[in-house]
Amino acid sequence: MPKGFTYNIIEVEKFATREVYGKVLVSLSETNKNIVVLTADLMRSNKTGDFARAYPKRFFNFGIAEQNMMAAAAGLAVSGKIPFVTTFAVFASLRCCEQVRTDIAYPKLNVRIISTHSGLSMGNGGTTHHSTEDIAIMRSMANMTVIVPADANECAKALIESIEYPGPVYMRLGRGAEPIVYKTDYDFKIGRAVTVMDGKDVTIIACGITVMAAIKAARRLTQEGINTRIIDMHTIKPLDTGIVIKAAKETGIIITAEEHNIIGGLGGAVAETLADAGLGIKFKRLGLPDIYSVIGAPDDLYERYGIDQNGIYNAVKSLI
């Protein structure tokens, strides 16, 4: 645990993952002089201002030029630095997709891409600012690790572990006020999913904000006698395939829920695992059904696309 940072500071019910990101980064950088932070005129949005003030010589604002920023991060990494590159998820995955793939993933460089405002969290920003393809894009790049923390605590743990983790990491954060899932300490390891609730009738595999939605749905389901297992699949790649196969065999029903197109993301990864294992179980992917999102407040969008607690609850009821 880096000096000066403990989970005890997070006492509020909701705490934005990106706020934690900024604080943990400052804390980690006290001891690790190789950490540098890059932004593309989104310092305020990405919450990297604390770092910029603490370490101005290790902070680089590239202006609104993500492609240059991402390739420069490769140059910094090849020179021994640990760049944390920050921008909105839609730009990190699409605007500089080739720079990520060719300059960072292919040479396997230690760049940490921290994307904020992912999924539908930009709400009324609309499709130009929603990122519903980024998990699929990043997951298809060899050498890339893809992490979607469920809350601020998990974000902090993933950031801390990422420092020593070999190769590039894509971390997908939200915009703000994500509910806290983990109120007490727990074991976190990149690539090993967390069983948040155990159950034998049905499994919900979630990531990011859908973890809390699944917990809320499960509380209702439990009252109705449906014993629900919830897996927080914080690492989409490398996927914890063992926990998926175990859940399929033990519960016979799996529902995935993600703030993403149902193609290529968490649902896709789980589906591939089930198919590879020859497990023909009841299965449903929740997310955007291969459409572009509409405008609206994030909570309204989660309801529209069935990834809030009601959507998950209804999906379970339809399959059980």
């Binding site: 030029a65 240059n68 420069a72 140059g75 630095k81």
Partner: protein, 283 residues
């Protein structure tokens, strides 16, 4: 202009002949290559590797080395024989150039070829990568420099100009871009495909020191490379080196079709004999 010893120039000119011959040999071995652009940049990279740059083939990651990024990654066939010649690896390792599982192909891979600082190939990326390396050097207060060789056609890429803007903004006087201005890209003359001129004015407008030289005059190359001192400026430097695509091979010079091509043994011998005719003072 500082005087440069004629011996130094002659040695480099003769080295360029050696390297061009190796490029021809590799083109035969590889079954074809980007020979036009490899021959246009030869004198520049010879001036860098045999005169201007500090490095140690025995310590690939020597911290004080100058860094070289080949933004025009398709020029690998022009760089790989130099890295072998200076001692990064034996020349025989290139005997399967372009073959299955060969470390050597059309574009250089830093994880497979000693001496390659960065994997390149997708045009327009190299200057941004070099900029990141230069930022790291500047953070450490290092004396080493970063040389980035770009093609001219790849200056069409918007990312190049993002990097140009940023290098000036970050005051990266340790960054030197060298444009292999051979005037031709794959589809034809750059001024017909996408006009670049007035190119020097563009770099200057972006805040760079910029000068245009004859990229086949070893004397001009040496003088300009010797004159760049990061300590004397807070600007990055761009050298526009006017070159001839296919330089040294009469039937290739300034011919668009020789962007990429193959050679048989007889043709290769003929070309290599032609190179020897300009050698000074014997081998």
């Amino acid at each position: 202009m500082r005087e440069v010893s004629e011996d130094i120039i002659t040695r480099l000119e003769n080295k360029a002949i050696d390297i061009r011959k190796k490029i021809i040999d590799l083109t035969v071995i590889a079954g074809g290559g980007h020979i036009g652009g490899a021959l246009s940049m030869t004198d520049i990279v010879v001036a860098l590797y045999y005169h201007a740059m500090k490095y140690d083939p025995k310590q690939r990651y020597w911290p004080d080395r100058d860094r070289f990024v080949l933004s025009k990654g398709h020029g690998a066939i022009g760089i790989c024989p130099i890295l072998a010649d200076v001692g990064f690896y034996p020349e025989e390792q290139m005997s399967n150039f372009n073959g299955l599982d060969s470390p050597f192909g059309m574009h250089p891979d830093m994880n497979k070829i000693p001496g390659i600082e960065m994997s390149t190939g997708s045009l327009g990326h190299g200057l941004s990568i070099a900029l990141g390396i230069a930022l790291a050097g500047k953070m450490e207060g290092a004396k080493w420099r970063v040389f980035c060789m770009t093609g001219d056609g790849e200056l069409d890429e918007g990312m190049i100009w993002e990097a140009a803007m940023a290098a000036h903004h970050f005051k990266l006087s340790n960054l030197v871009a060298i444009v292999d201005r051979n005037g031709l890209s794959l589809d034809g003359p750059t001024e017909e495909v996408m006009a670049l001129e007035p190119l020097e004015d563009k770099w200057k407008a972006f805040g760079w020191n910029c000068m245009t030289i004859d990229g086949h005059s070893m004397k001009e190359l040496v003088v300009v490379l010797d004159s760049i001192s990061p300590a004397n400026s807070d600007k990055p430097t761009c050298i526009i080196a006017k070159t001839v695509k296919g330089k040294g091979v009469p039937f290739m010079e300034n011919v668009t079709d020789w962007h990429y091509g193959g050679l048989d043994d007889a043709k290769a011998e003929e070309i290599k004999n032609g190179f020897e005719k300009i050698r000074k003072g014997g081998r």
